[in-house]
Symmetry: C2
Subunit: 332 residues, 2 copies
């Protein structure tokens, strides 16, 4: 029910992925009458026997405070969907709804692994060398050094599993590359990371280093990560809008635009936000994926595919296993 | 002497601005023999009587720690140039050198106004509506609420004076627009700003809001501002490099590229980092402008013009005057 367009996006996206993945089963949780009519009007050529509907009388709204949703919305579609992951009735939950409420329900119902203080929100971002993972993107505003270390490990597990990268490099986002730069937490995190031999920590990365792709995993606190991600979106939109402007002004501009547009579309897909939809809540004992609230059908399919990949690659289990190596390391 | 190319950039840039501004006098501080030969080889058609040379036996390097430069490099070109602003021998100092050392010398020699804890680094960034001012860009890693309030006022003075904007709007950079978002310092700063009637504080701004230009001044701590600025540079370079790529591949791509390139150049100038060169150290009792270390001649002329504008508009004095309105406000 979440996101700007609710089931008008989530249902066609589910039908699209269902048609491509005949081995998967889907559970749509929400207002059953609304879901039923939309599903039947859109599924003309699709076998819907693998799509189950589960009724939820209410929905979490974008304006709900996480604490309010957690306390009073236990009959919401979001709660029921997360609970299904907890009980094993579902392998993963994908939501386009209220991020804070989803995080609160994820923590309450699924719990984090021992050794993980709080989950981190993680997304891939396009870079000159492919993509890198950036975390945390807003779940943890004030981070202790130990949390930055946990994020590093979880991001490395994701890069190793999803990209078959045996030794992903990790950088801490900072305002300079010298040892003396940054605040106490970052400097302590750098020290702790250098003592975890299983992790390939390479040092500090500056803001522009994210997009040159000099490391596979870029770690920062949730405030900085959220600003970095949204600034990136803002700059990308600003620049692509300006390209549209110059090819829309004057006869010559429009003429050149007609010729250049197919190539510019190719350019646009290289950093297309839709392709990078699907943020992971790492550190939970289960798979919880957040789709962007403004996602369209195509974009939501990427969030669904992210969830499928997390289950296939057993990301949560891998994080749990990797944690053990750190605790072993600490004991010695 | 500072920046990647030293006097090979600063001298021709000075000659260019000197030719355009016959009322100005320039003082070049550095290695006199090097400056003399470069100046005479490049000034064929320019009257150099308005350009004085002052010898400095040493230069601050990019690797010098600010504390080291402050203590041991009092015969450096940077120290001598800043000292000239203090003594009144110069109206402004422009440097492409070590930012931390320049800040340390600025604070030590020029001092901040009473009521300003530390200077803030401020730069204009291009937006959909023209440009906005972003500060702090790295001088203050951990900021108290009161400092964010000081930055807001100083950014507003800059926008009001330089852009003849009688009532510049101010936003605090945050990870959401709701009152509950952000850390304690930001929430307290928002409260304090709403109590300063001379300032047009409009609320929180998210990372992507910087580039839509919804406020004239965007305020944040120096860590976040530095990351935001460098992420912006990284994304812009990533996207412009990708445009070059698509117009350089294949016969068709190169053909279209030849037609589209003049328009793309126009696009590029809209966010051209060279045009936005020249960061101000606001809050000092004098004008100190930092040019990007990688600036070329054209770019360095913008830093020089920024300094001229600060002196013309008496930015430092305006900041001092505006501070008085706040202290008056606090007393009531």
């Amino acid at each position: 029910m979440g996101g700007d367009l609710g089931p008008r996006v989530t249902i066609p996206a589910t039908l699209e992925v269902a048609a491509q993945s005949p081995q998967l089963e889907f559970i749509l949780v929400g207002d059953k009458s609304q879901l039923t009519s939309l599903l039947h009007s859109q599924s003309e050529n699709t076998d819907v026997s693998r799509i189950k509907l589960v009724h939820a009388p209410v929905a979490v709204t974008m304006g709900d405070k996480p604490s309010h949703a957690l306390r009073y919305k236990r009959d919401s579609s979001m709660w029921i969907a997360v609970e299904m992951v907890r009980s094993g009735a579902a392998d993963a939950c994908v939501s386009g709804g209220n991020t804070g409420a989803l995080m609160a329900m994820g923590r309450h119902l699924l719990k984090t692994f021992p050794g993980i203080d709080r989950p981190a929100i993680c997304k891939p971002v396009p870079t000159e060398r492919g993509h890198s993972y950036l975390l945390d993107l807003g779940a943890n505003i004030n981070c202790q050094a130990q949390q930055l270390v946990q994020f590093s490990m979880m991001g490395a597990v994701l890069a190793a599993s999803v990209d078959q990268n045996p030794n992903p490099s990790i950088g801490l986002l900072n305002i300079g590359e010298e040892n003396t730069k940054g605040n106490d937490q970052i400097q302590l995190a750098a020290h702790l990371l250098s003592q975890w031999p299983q992790l390939n920590y390479t040092g500090y990365v500056e803001g522009d280093g994210i997009y040159s792709g000099i490391v596979d995993v870029v770690v920062c606190d949730g405030f900085v990560g959220n600003v970095a991600l949204k600034v990136s979106e803002g700059v990308a939109r600003f620049l692509t809008d300006r390209v549209e402007d110059i090819f829309n002004v004057g006869l010559y501009g429009r003429l050149v635009g007609r010729i250049a547009r197919p190539l510019l579309r190719k350019w646009h897909t290289q950093f297309d936000p839709a392709r990078y939809n699907g943020a992971s809540f790492l550190g939970l004992r289960g798979t919880l994926i957040k789709s962007h609230g403004g996602a369209d059908q195509r974009s939501f399919t990427y969030a669904l595919r992210t969830a499928i990949e997390h289950v296939d690659k057993q990301i949560a289990t891998c994080i749990h296993d990797q944690l053990a190596t750190y605790q072993g390391c600490r004991r010695n």
